[in-house]
Symmetry: C2
Subunit: 194 residues, 2 copies
DNA sequence: CGCCGAGTTGAACTGAATCAAGAAACGTGG
DNA sequence: CCACGTTTCTTGATTCAGTTCAACTCGGCG
């Protein structure tokens, strides 16, 4: 159950067995149904979530419309980072797109871990670095790529995204209309047949 | 000379006079001509820059073309954050768009300050938070706004950007073609006359 | 003077949005 | 298990925003 998480952390920073044990002792495991809100905009994020199975969607309201800001797939985290770290109201809401198994760690618990072992500080940093970098890449993708290219890039990264995420949510993440994404998808299928 | 910087820092975290003195003692002041490279892509960022006057442009190469990632105007910082903090090669280059007065602080010096007073850690965090948030807003702007709206937003934030930044650089920052930006600008002027 | 980079403008084209209608998939209650 | 409404997806027709290509202007500078 915790293996995915430990593996993921190892890609960031090496952990010794006692650190792993310490972490696992403090993890909270939960299985929640589709459409559960993990956080509502305006509230303060009290947990970091690690997705074992399922998908988390992060979104916010802009000009009355929902805009998808992020998807968290298995073996990745969902962290409204600054709300969690600095106890501020979150812009984003988090909701489950499927029944999901999650590991979570509360702000209080993480504080405790941070005070006992500096390795958690490093992990924290590395995670922040990863998300910062992917935000930068996302900006660049809007600067230089067309809708079609952005769509193809995300398919490359997450070949199974179509089955997990609805058309409308993906379109809003990519910054294009639902109809355009549907047509891109159709063209893609046609090409595949030839 | 250092007032702008101190004011800016006060918006992040309150500083007492001795902290201010400590900082000023360690600042390096320099006046550099237009087109000076502060950092070339692939190198490690050794300095944080604070712009007193002038403009810094950050850009990277994507598919053979230059893409502008950031402008740093007076009273703001230019920090290739992760390159500076974790001593990694930078994706971005930094170049001066005008003769500029800069304040800089080296990685070594900042380490020294950090070790002596926790307030610099807080400032560091708050800065990171600001840049992270503005990156998020930038992504959202691409998701929901048209070229025209993005152009108007940046004009609102930096009314004098047209005089400081060339058309091509601004267009690449906004993710639109130079011709389109020129037309937007022309339409805007016409409207202003009526 | 003539060149060069930066900006403008026009015309044709194209990618993507919008509007509108219908098809498919899905959940819920009878 | 089917009938229903609801949401999700597809498809077409039209419009529009933005790109591309190309020619031209303007100001600065050797």
């Amino acid at each position: 159950m915790n293996e995915g998480l430990l593996q993921r952390l190892h890609t960031l920073v090496p952990l010794n067995p006692s650190q792993e044990k310490e972490l696992c002792k403090n993890l909270h495991q939960e299985t929640l149904p589709k459409n559960t809100y993990l956080l509502e905009a305006g509230g303060v994020a009290n947990y970091i979530y690690f997705v074992v199975s399922g998908v988390i969607r992060s979104f916010k309201q802009v000009e009355g419309k929902e805009v998808t800001t992020w998807f968290s797939f298995p073996n990745h985290f969902a962290v409204p980072y600054f709300s969690f770290a600095y106890r501020q109201p979150s812009q984003d809401s988090l909701i489950l797109l499927h029944d999901s198994q999650l590991l979570s760690i509360s702000h209080k618990t993480l504080d405790y871990l941070l005070s006992r072992d500096k390795v958690w500080i490093d992990i924290n940093r590395r995670l922040l670095e990863e998300y910062y970098t992917s935000l930068q890449n996302r900006v660049t993708s809007f600067q230089v790529q067309s809708a079609k290219e952005r769509y193809e890039s995300i398919l490359k990264e997450h070949p199974d995204i179509e089955e997990k995420v609805s058309l409308g949510h993906l379109a809003s993440y990519l910054g294009i209309s639902q109809e355009t994404l549907s047509r891109l998808r159709a063209r893609k299928k046609k090409k595949a047949k030839i």
